[in-house]
């Protein structure tokens, strides 16, 4: 399964204290994201990654703990329409 973020011009992101407000242009919906969601979108990019490769990519940049359930976070982003899975 490859997970992909929307094209960069589909999202408008504005940091608001600990959150990132994201406006999804295709749907017109606003999402309020907390880490690691913005980092996941950034790492996935338009080309997309598998869950294992995403975990590896994030581990290079951030201290991932066992508690960071990436699969669950990814599914939330898929459900929100911010990540596509194919």
């Amino acid at each position: 399964m490859i997970y992909r973020a929307p094209p960069a011009d589909a999202l408008l992101a504005e940091p608001i204290d600990a959150f990132t407000a994201v406006y999804h242009r295709p749907s017109g919906q606003t999402h309020l994201l907390v880490e690691p969601a913005p980092e996941i979108l950034d790492a996935l990019g338009r080309d997309g990654l598998t869950l294992a490769k995403l975990r590896a990519a994030l581990a290079e940049r951030y201290d991932l703990t066992e508690a960071d359930d990436l699969a669950e976070r990814l599914e939330e982003l898929v459900a929100a329409g911010l990540v596509s899975a194919a």
């Binding site: 408008l12 504005e14 608001i16 204290d17 600990a18 959150f19 407000a21 406006y23 242009r25 017109g28 606003t30 309020l32």
Partner: protein, 276 residues
């Protein structure tokens, strides 16, 4: 009847003369509306014969809520005011619309938003009496380009105990007894508010007041303010990207304070202290 309030122009028609006479009196000091109004409202009988027999008023306009209950003719003024608010809430696209009261002093605006009963209108009227310029008691119109507030000084809708608390000076509408929200009376904004209805002000503070609680203040994080204001906006979802930009800008640039207060005097003292 045609009337202009800030950037919006209304035409109100009625099957009866009494509500129009009341509206003309209420809006006597407002500028006349444009020949092509932004919104048209009509007060009509619910059935043709209801014009004479136990008259019952339904509202018609560009924007309608199908479940809106008809009101008795004695409350036709309230029906007209509600209908005008409804047109703006559902139809306005030129600004980000927040369900909020706003007042201005020294070029800086205080925006107060909260649930019905939070005391927005009462606080706005009290601050107006103390020399603040009233921008509006129902809607704050946020400019989509520069974030300023456009005044929208409709008559202030005061309910129950607030009417007596503010009794005295000013132009008042008739007392409407036994409405779904109790007794309602409209207070016309003062000369300062009406003279300045085309002069914008930059928001300097957001307030989330709550009436009926022990005095307390709390700094509200911008993210919480953002979520609450998306819910307090009637047109945020319709505006799309410009609304998103205007709202994120507002919550990042303007500090937000939640204020619990037990009575009007406490609220005024708390506003004085917070405002500095």
């Amino acid at each position: 009847m045609k009337v202009r309030v800030g950037p919006a122009s209304f035409r109100v028609g009625s099957a009866w003369s009494q509500p129009l006479a009341q509206l003309r009196a209420l809006y006597a000091d407002y500028p006349p509306g444009d020949s092509v109004p932004d919104f048209t409202v009509r007060l009509e009988p619910t059935r043709p014969w209801r014009r004479w027999v136990r008259p019952s008023v339904a509202i018609a306009g560009d924007y309608m809520l199908p479940e809106a209950a008809p009101l008795p003719l004695a409350h036709a003024l309230l029906a007209a005011e509600m209908a005008m608010n409804l047109q703006v809430a559902l139809g306005w696209r030129r600004h980000l619309l927040l369900h909020a009261a706003a007042v201005e002093k020294d070029g800086r605006a205080l925006v107060m938003t909260g649930e019905s009963g939070a005391g927005k209108s009462t606080l706005a009227a009290m601050l107006m009496r103390r020399g603040w310029r009233l921008l509006g008691d129902e809607f704050a119109l946020v400019d989509l380009h520069n974030g300023s507030l456009h005044p929208f000084p409709r008559p202030i809708s005061l309910k129950n105990d607030s009417i007596a608390a503010l009794a005295g000076e000013g132009r008042w509408g008739p007392e409407l007894v036994g409405t779904p929200k109790g007794t309602i009376r409209h207070l016309v904004p003062d000369a300062l508010a009406l003279a300045g209805m085309n002069r914008q002000a930059m928001p300097a503070m957001l307030l989330f007041p709550r009436y009926g609680f022990a005095p307390a203040t709390r700094a509200v994080p911008a993210s919480e303010a953002f979520v609450r204001l998306t819910a307090a906006s009637t047109n945020y979802a319709n505006l799309g990207e410009p609304g998103f930009r205007a709202l994120t800008r507002l919550v990042r640039e303007v500090p937000t304070v939640a204020v619990d207060y037990p009575d009007g005097a406490s609220a005024l003292a708390m506003v004085d202290e917070i405002w500095g």
